[in-house]
């Protein structure tokens, strides 16, 4: 898996969707690539203070806390994922970025019906990876949690940032989502 993208599956004609696979509290989650604006290292995030990137504020979103997990301490692979949707922005701290995957629909499974509480809003389903499973985060729920304290963008600012503009040297590869 790399940030350049990795196809999950074999049939080239199958419809696919792209996800960024990250670890939070030692568990793998999938973020829709449509959300991703950029990645920052720990050092970069410290240098920019409140995570203002290219003039845009990215309020912190505590994903681990929202789903009842304990946040892990910072490590060498810690990254800040900048996300935006419909003018709302957020910055999610993750323990590791595993890479971008292109997933065929056949490898995306709904959450089993026995899960019947709040998690049905948290996740859109499960993604079968070559090894293991990533939990697909519901973009609307994820970004909805940052509505307070965020601000809307003027129309001309709706164009997403190119990830290559903010991806760190440490991540190695410039990727335009």
């Amino acid at each position: 898996m790399s940030l350049r993208g990795h196809r999950q599956g074999s049939a080239a004609h199958e419809p696919t969707e792209r996800y960024l696979i990250v670890s939070v509290a030692a568990q793998r989650f999938a973020l829709s690539a449509d959300l991703i604006q950029g990645l920052l290292t720990l050092e970069e995030s410290r240098s920019v203070g409140i995570l203002t990137v290219q003039g845009q504020d990215y309020p912190s979103l505590n994903l681990a806390g929202r789903i009842g997990l304990a946040e892990a301490s910072d490590g060498p692979e810690t990254r800040f994922v900048l996300v935006a949707r419909a003018g709302t922005r957020a910055c999610i701290r993750v323990e590791q970025v595993h890479g971008l995957v292109e997933v065929e629909r056949v490898h995306m499974l709904p959450l089993p019906g026995q899960f019947r509480s709040d998690e049905r809003n948290w996740y859109f389903g499960l993604i079968l990876l070559e090894e293991g499973v990533a939990i697909g985060l519901n973009s609307a729920w994820l970004i909805g949690g940052t509505m307070q304290g965020s601000r809307s963008l003027p129309a001309q600012e709706e164009r997403p940032l190119q990830l290559a503009h903010v991806v760190s040297e440490g991540m190695g590869r410039g990727l335009a989502c």
């Binding site: 959450l111 089993p112 899960f115 509480s117 996740y123 499960l126 079968l128 293991g132």
Partner: protein, 147 residues
């Protein structure tokens, strides 16, 4: 006469209850065999943060995933053994996995008249039967997690 004999035999057979007796954390439990999809080695589970009581992980089998019901957690015990087993429970919403002790489950046929009411409150049961050691509750895995 023959018809009558066959009829009585059918009646007698229908009163036999086929159970699978297994253990979780040393606690012996039974379940009707018709509610079981199979037993295999425990593959290890993948956590899925959740607020559904006792359902917070899945197992993967090839291109399928199944939710895991934490029966040990509900009983406040820990599953015993290194070679744990996976009991697949049939449910209306689809199959569900339960991690059980490594002790091999046994099949048991029981006259339905020997099933008594179970007094324990730690688990929702269909009743229980007495063996040489204890009262063994008969649980309905189809109902687990639906309360």
């Amino acid at each position: 006469m023959l018809r009558g004999a066959v009829g009585r035999q059918r009646q007698s057979t229908s009163q036999t209850c086929h159970l699978l007796v297994f253990s979780v954390g040393g606690r012996r439990l039974a379940v009707k065999t018709e509610e079981i999809g199979g037993i295999s080695a425990w593959p290890g589970s993948i956590p899925v943060p959740s607020r559904t009581p006792f359902i917070s992980s899945i197992i993967r089998r090839d291109q399928a995933v199944f939710p895991v019901f934490d029966l040990a957690g509900m009983l406040k015990v820990r599953v015993k053994g290194e070679q744990r087993l996976c009991l697949m429970a049939k449910q209306p919403a689809g199959a569900m996995a339960i991690c059980i002790d490594e002790e091999m489950p046994v099949l048991r046929s029981l006259d339905a008249t020997k099933i008594q009411a179970y007094c324990g409150r730690e688990i929702d049961s269909l009743g229980c039967f007495a063996d040489e050691f204890e009262d063994v509750p008969i649980i309905s895995v189809a109902r687990l997690g639906s309360a």
